[in-house]
Amino acid sequence: MKHIDWRSELAREGHRVILSGLPIAMHCHHYNINLHKMVEDTLGEEGIHLLVEAAEMVSYYGFQSLLKQYKQIKTIKSKLELAGTIYQNCGLGILLFKKVGPTGGRIMSLSSHHVTGWLSKHGRRETPGCHFSRGWIAGVMGVIYNHPPGSYTVEEKECKMMRRDECIFLVKER
């Protein structure tokens, strides 16, 4: 993605770290996975929903804010490419948007922060666990196809936390 100047996108304003005009925090896998596991263990399905929804809302508004600054990025293809680049630049992993359209699609991940973190702290899971990524994908899909938050459901069909070869996300329009 040649259009993005990451050095200026990720900047400091005093003690704050700013990405695309919005404050960010750097957190490591210990905190992200601790929060994930604690919320899931405590609230069950409701906790999973919360993890997905929080990631979706925030990735929606964050990606929208970024796109406003790059008006030259107009095509769906380049927006999807930008989404993958941002995910990678934020240290979240690799997302490959395959066969994606306005009604949904299939997205593959070969590696991710949350998978690496989960496996190093807790080992193999018995159920798919990339709730953050599900929400993140739903958020950016909403922005790319000009739908409000909550327009897409993202199901994880295969998960590397279960020691599968890749994570496979199936996106559907609600």
Binding site: M26, V58, Y61
Partner: protein
């Protein structure tokens, strides 16, 4: 020697721009991610809300514990990293300088403008933060609170003391516990965290 926080900030900003072929940022011995603070605020405060009034204390305890365990493991990784050895160790004159270095790393990570106000070795640590993203987020999402809301910073303050004066790693987590007597979310001018040795190993 005084800890030069600007050197640590520079190293973190440069290091956070380097990710490996898998899109992972390995820095200071941990895997870093960069994400909007609203995510952490929404997750923490919605979790607390879903737990309800009857489980309010339990929610607070869980959020602090998640952060303290994280801080304990994270800063243990950080102080054993190559980056720490090369950059921070030359600035460290005594054991207590580690706390000032930990605080500088936290500032570099965008957690707030942490300032060590008092450190009495083996007894207590006071950290003041005038711009905690948790307090800001709580005020934006829910308005004023009647209790402190900076659970992450509260846990991390305890972890700093655990690492210096607790039992040897990995047995010292929760040897210290922090309180937040002042918090902007409840109308104070700043947030303040005081860690003291805990009588129990866990939050009562």
């Amino acid at each position: 020697m005084t800890i030069d926080g600007s050197k640590i900030i520079h190293a973190v900003m440069e290091g956070s721009r380097i990710r490996d072929a898998k899109g992972i940022i390995p820095l200071f011995g941990v895997y870093l991610s960069l994400f909007f603070v609203q995510y952490y605020n929404k997750l923490s405060f919605e979790f607390e809300k879903k737990m309800g009034k009857t489980r309010e204390k339990e929610a607070e305890k869980l959020l602090i514990e998640a952060a303290q365990e994280c801080g304990y493991a994270t800063f243990q990784g950080i102080r054993n990293s190559r980056e720490w050895e090369e950059l921070v160790v030359p600035m460290i004159g005594n054991r207590e300088d580690q706390i000032f270095s930990f605080a500088a790393v936290a500032v570099a990570f965008g957690w707030g403008d942490l300032e060590v106000k008092e450190l009495i070795p083996r007894e207590n640590l006071t950290i003041r933060v005038s711009d905690s993203y948790e307090a800001t987020g709580y005020l934006e999402l829910h308005g004023h609170s009647d209790s402190g809301k900076c659970y992450m910073l509260r846990g991390v303050t305890g972890a700093f003391m655990d690492l210096l004066y607790g039992e040897d790693y990995p047995d010292g987590c929760f040897n210290f516990m922090a309180e937040e007597p002042f918090c902007r979310a409840k109308g104070d001018l700043y947030c303040e965290f005081i860690a003291r040795r805990s009588s129990d190993q866990r939050i009562p």
